[in-house]
Amino acid sequence: MANHIGTVVLPGDVLKDIKPPDGSKKLLLGPGLVEDGDVIKVCKPGILRYRDPGVYWLDCHQKRYVACKGDQVLGIVTQKNVDMFRVDIGCSELASLSYLSFEGATKRNRPDVKVGDVIYAKVLVANKDMEPELVCIDSYGRSSGMGVIRGGGFLIHTSLNLARKLLNPQCVLMKALGNRFKFEIAVGMNGRIWLNTQNDVQTIAIANAIFAAEYMDNDQITSMCKKLSRVMSGME
């Protein structure tokens, strides 16, 4: 199996030598892999990744978000219904978000959400035959950072794998930027990123830094951030 890991596989490729690791009988297939009878088929172009125990998935480069259970996403409220909001999270249909799935919300006191608000939420239900459903509370009923994002800011759209890259603990971009600038950021798995900085110049700078980071490795990123901070200090 080693020969496949880390290499690029394309739709239609059959991964014969993927077997559950000895010991556990279980084999977990991530995005891009489907079980077709007794073989495992690739259905997206991507890089095959493996993690113990027996977890396989593809790193694929994609712009369109397809809802997936447990993802934390950023969405924009587009409609208000009787008992739920419709939220655009960038997938094929609008996600639904119940009034009651906010911290401390009851039939009496409804959360204060307006059409156009940006929401940070978790995908509760993601099924190809149903519209996705969001919640803004964890299993304990707490809003662990989720809910309506207030206080201005700026929303940018990126490719999904850039979003994943930023969220990856190995990625130094956030730290590097954090050393120099003071800003708030929220990254959704659906490739939407919310930024809030001290002034527009910084917003633009950071946004560009993020876009630029897509095809950089960590060293390049750090050097880029150094350059950026130098330029910025020149401007301010």
Partner: protein, 232 residues
């Protein structure tokens, strides 16, 4: 943007025992030239060029909605003027070809729309469009059962067969055949022919195009590896 170019030199010939006429023209492509669509590609075969853009899975009009599978729509834009019946036929052919490749069952009640702009039609236009569309789908990472590669061949009056003909050859040829193969077991997804030809001429073309389609597939692989490894 994952924008770059891979130029396949005539090393294709090396892989084939045929003489020089039996090779594809040089293939180049650019993945993701457009920023707005979910996936896009420019595909060039010799002087023939097509630009394809993919949107989806996106939301679909109720009138077009299918409850058990994704709606696949192809829009072919000719260089000038409104689409005429001849363009509609091309549209239909490309649509059915891609429908076979796309895993429509994975995205029910959604729309996958492919827009193809005729850029430069100098021989083997249909093949070029199909390949461009396939690359665009790969760029958008739409889930697919297999990839498709199209190759056309011309039968001259003397009965000799020329792979991937240029427009001049096409005009003079007695028949032009375009084949589309799938990447898994190289079965025939699409055959479109024009002009009269005998059965063994058909067989010959099939044999040659089948060999040549491997080049297209390996080209797909190279291009995508470059793109993906870059972003990793």
């Amino acid at each position: 943007m994952a924008a770059f170019t891979v130029v396949k030199k005539e090393d294709l010939e090396a892989q084939q025992k045929e003489e020089s006429v039996q090779s594809l023209r040089c293939i180049t492509s650019e993945l993701g030239p457009l920023t707005q669509p979910d996936g896009s590609a420019v595909f060039t075969q010799g002087d023939t060029t097509a630009l394809a853009a993919v949107y989806g899975p996106a939301d679909v009009k109720i009138s077009k909605e299918l409850i058990d599978r994704a709606t696949v729509e192809v829009i072919y834009k000719p260089k000038v003027g409104l689409p005429r019946p001849v363009d509609r036929k091309l549209e239909r052919i490309i649509k059915n070809t891609l429908e076979a490749a796309i895993m429509a069952l994975n995205h029910p009640r959604s729309l996958i729309s492919i827009v193809i702009q005729e850029t430069e039609s100098l021989g083997a236009n249909l093949a070029c469009c199909v390949n461009a569309a396939c690359m665009a789908l790969l760029d958008a990472a739409v889930s697919m059962n297999f990839m498709v590669a199209a190759v056309s061949a011309a039968v001259t009056d003397k009965g000799e067969i020329i792979l991937d003909p240029v427009s001049r050859v096409e005009d003079e040829a007695r028949a032009v055949l375009t084949f589309v193969f799938d990447s898994v077991d190289k079965n025939i997804v699409t055959v479109i022919t024009s002009g009269q030809f005998s059965q063994d001429e058909y067989k010959k073309c099939l044999y040659l195009t089948k060999q040549a389609c491997d080049n297209v597939f390996s080209f797909y692989k190279d291009s995508l590896s470059k793109k993906l490894l870059k972003s990793a």
